[in-house]
């Protein structure tokens, strides 16, 4: 009995850390909850861009093979030209989404 109790547990892996330690995140907006909302907003924008890229993969596969499969999607590589076009589309999306940041460049600061 005592022996089984002293048997070490099999080595477990801890989950990866997802929040950084260190100085508090600087405060950007009037309250920290708004900062957190903005961090979620930026993450959501990345998710949205990624959906657009996945649609582009679907379109590329449909154009070239006429059908879709999970396997074909997983092994699809966009290639340099297609990746370049995706990159331009992402930059264009960010310029649209963040348009309001330009406000202070117009009129009086």
């Amino acid at each position: 009995m005592a022996e089984t109790l002293t048997n070490p547990e099999p080595a477990k892996r801890l989950p990866r850390k997802r929040i950084a330690k260190g100085p508090a995140r600087p405060q950007y907006f009037e309250n920290r909850d708004l900062d957190r909302m903005m961090i979620m907003f930026v993450a959501l924008m990345a998710e949205m861009m990624a959906i657009r890229d996945r649609l582009d993969t679907d379109e590329a596969l449909l154009e070239s093979t006429g059908k879709l499969s999970a396997e074909a999607i997983e092994s699809f590589q966009p290639g340099e030209e297609r990746e370049q076009a995706r990159e331009e589309a992402r930059l264009a999306m960010m310029r649209r989404v963040f348009r309001v940041l330009r406000e202070e460049f117009e009129g009086d600061a």
Binding site: A11, K12, R16, K21, Y28, A46, A109
Partner: protein, 374 residues
Amino acid sequence: MKPQGQHGMLPRPNHDEAVRESCVASMRRYFTTELVGENRKLYQQKLAPKFKAEHGRLPETAAEVRHLMEDTYYYRASSIIGRATQELLWDTVGETIERQLDDLIEKARPKDGALGTLTLDPDMKMPKYIEDVDIHVMPGNFHTELCEGDVLAGALYDRGAYIFAYGSRGQYNEQLGTLIAGMLKSQFPDFKPRRILEIGCSMGTSTVALKDGFPDAEMYGIDVSAPMVRYAHARAESLGRAIHFSQQDGAHTKFPDGYFDLVLSILVNHEQPLNVVQAQFKESYRILAPGGIMLTDGKLKSRTAVAEADPFQEFMGQWFNRNNNEPFGKGIDIERDFMAAGFALEDMFSDVPEGDTYLKGHVSAHSYVGAFKR
């Protein structure tokens, strides 16, 4: 973004993970090449003239600039977009690595017949500055181990640095190492180091590039972090490079006096408190052979033209320190600290290699300082 150069330790993202990584790279590029630079335009076109109209002079200190900038929505919003992108970067890359971590750990175990070596120090006590601050907002920092044999931090830093640079620092993150080797070879064509040490080598990307620059030299890389040197060893082996990696603190190494002809630390100074940087310079001097070179990033005060005061640059130049968990690097004076380590001022040199990618948007290209030991 061009695909990252393949090697055996690179995590393999699935389709959606790969596109999310590319999206974060695009966001990093947008922040660096479009958002950040516009702060200066806003300052010059709107804020500085308004300040002058009110005070009869332009802002003279970084604190005055800071006050003006933080009052704008643009500065606050563009800054939090940059910060949010940085947090998202690690979390995006981390998801892929964690999914494959058991496999990566197995691949990283040292094999018989390896070209180089891996030496760990199970008694290593992590320095407090490593435990206290997750540099670059990378959760777990360089040293965290999730289990025995862990390599997550190494994989995270290799893939994360590639995305941070949106692929602009070379397919193998090799640009800094390649530029430094080229710079040394062109300045000192007769310099033929027999042994080279990179202090704070992390995932070993510059270490591999330096080995390529000096293929006849025995190459060593040290880092306080076990996950980093495990990963660096496995990565270098997979790429067919013979390098000796070991877990050691650059401020107190186990190497004998005069063991190396070239000792480098590349972009490590800003991640350590001043007393640690100074101790590391002293240790570097000790393990250098006469005629050997110590090299690090920085400037020589007495040989750098005094630039016209630019309080805006002074303020924005600290953006990463304030927003990216890079609180160190203050107070360093390479001339003073190299001299305190034993080098003579007349034996120092500096250079700014051409072709360095301008990644932090608002700091000047990296400049390096070296010194010969007599």
